[in-house]
């Protein structure tokens, strides 16, 4: 049985999918790629055990917003990271209402790797998609502020 963490990439850019697939495979992740939102939804239904979904927001036909809405009907737990370009802030705000783990700007792949590892680690530790201990975080912010 594979112990690799599974990531589903959903994007409408074929070359980017290929690049991300190769990059994350080399980092010892098990990678699934889907070209577009509709294919991404089909793939999620057949691979419900993925540890992370990384999705573009602006895609033709089925947008990233529609993808997260439908995936949230199937799973509340899977962390969802949006790997997105500029100019989609309204969509990002809307997407955040459905539980986004993080937003990473294209083409920051190094940042995406960092966020992906953190999201999977947090998810496997049974953490919610938000800060686990708001009081500790609050205290840390107070200390930094003062």
């Amino acid at each position: 049985m594979s112990t690799k963490s599974k990531i589903l990439f959903i994007d409408d850019e074929e070359e980017l999918l290929q690049l991300l697939g190769d990059f994350f495979s080399n980092l010892d992740f098990e990678v699934f790629t889907a070209n577009g939102g509709d294919e991404g939804l089909k793939m999620f239904r057949t691979h419900r055990d993925v540890d992370l979904v990384i999705c573009d927001i602006s895609m033709p036909r089925v947008r990233g917003l529609d993808v997260i809405k439908k995936i949230r009907m199937l799973s509340d737990d899977v962390p969802f990271v949006f790997f997105t370009g500029f100019g989609s802030r309204d969509n990002m705000i809307e997407a955040s209402k459905y539980g986004a783990y993080d937003f990473v700007r294209k083409p920051d792949i190094a940042g995406l790797v960092e966020v992906a590892k953190k999201a999977i680690e947090n998810s496997k530790a049974g953490g919610s998609s938000t800060t686990n201990d708001p009081l500790s975080e609050y205290q840390r912010l107070l200390a930094r502020r003062d």
Binding site: S96, K97, F103, S129, T131, L135, Y138, L141
Partner: protein
């Protein structure tokens, strides 16, 4: 001026939100934000006060009653006024505003409006939101100026303006305005009929949400 500069070093705590702290920090550009899926409860509330007191040890802590004026918060907001009458204002803004909150319009004159569900059909704003506000709390002087402004817009069409560029002349009382015979305006030569236009800057109107 950014929200960050206005409000720092305040901390924003968002309760009952499904997204993560990191996501909301990036989304709203606030480093001092905490988000949690939990709704705020007594434990969290007490915990936050206790921690603040612990950090603030040796310093004065101020508590305000709920009706204290100092509890009011002002958020500057860019908006585009789309219609204006003596009683109501409609405007577009990129920010989502809750119904029945109060906005203060600072240009071209100070007035307050309560945002209400629109009583008329407002065109959709693809860049944000389109709201209707009922003008309230206007003093007689501002009401007078507002009436003149509406008349000015009717005569001159809608253009953007700023405080510096909009000049309504010396204030007059309502009695003076009502006493002014309409014939005066009709008798004026055509070139003098419209008030002198002053240079108008392309600045957006400013509203402040209370």
């Amino acid at each position: 001026m950014s929200y960050e500069r206005v409000l720092n070093p305040s901390i924003v705590a968002v309760f009952g939100h499904p997204s993560s702290t990191d996501a909301l920090r990036k989304l709203y550009g606030r480093g001092n934000l905490i988000a949690t899926t939990y709704d705020i409860d007594e434990r969290l509330g007490h915990g936050m006060v206790e921690r603040m007191q612990a950090v603030k040890k040796g310093q004065d802590i101020f508590r305000f009653k709920t009706k204290d004026q100092r509890l009011k918060a002002y958020f500057p907001l860019d908006a585009q006024v789309t219609s204006l009458t003596e009683n109501e204002i409609t405007f577009m803004t990129t920010e989502e505003l809750p119904y029945y909150s109060v906005v203060k319009v600072s240009v071209p004159l100070d007035l307050y409006a309560v945002i209400v569900p629109s009583l008329k059909k407002l065109s959709p704003n693809i860049h944000g939101h389109h709201y209707m506000g009922l003008i309230c709390g206007v003093e007689s002087f501002e009401y007078n100026t507002l009436r003149k402004l509406v008349n000015h817009i009717i005569d001159n069409g809608i253009e953007e303006w700023s405080n510096d560029s909009f000049d309504l002349g010396d204030p007059k009382t309502i009695a003076e305005i009502e006493a002014r015979p309409e014939e005066d305006a009709l008798d004026e030569p055509q070139e003098n009929k419209r008030p002198d236009r002053v240079e108008r800057h392309k600045s957006k109107n400013k509203l402040a949400k209370l």
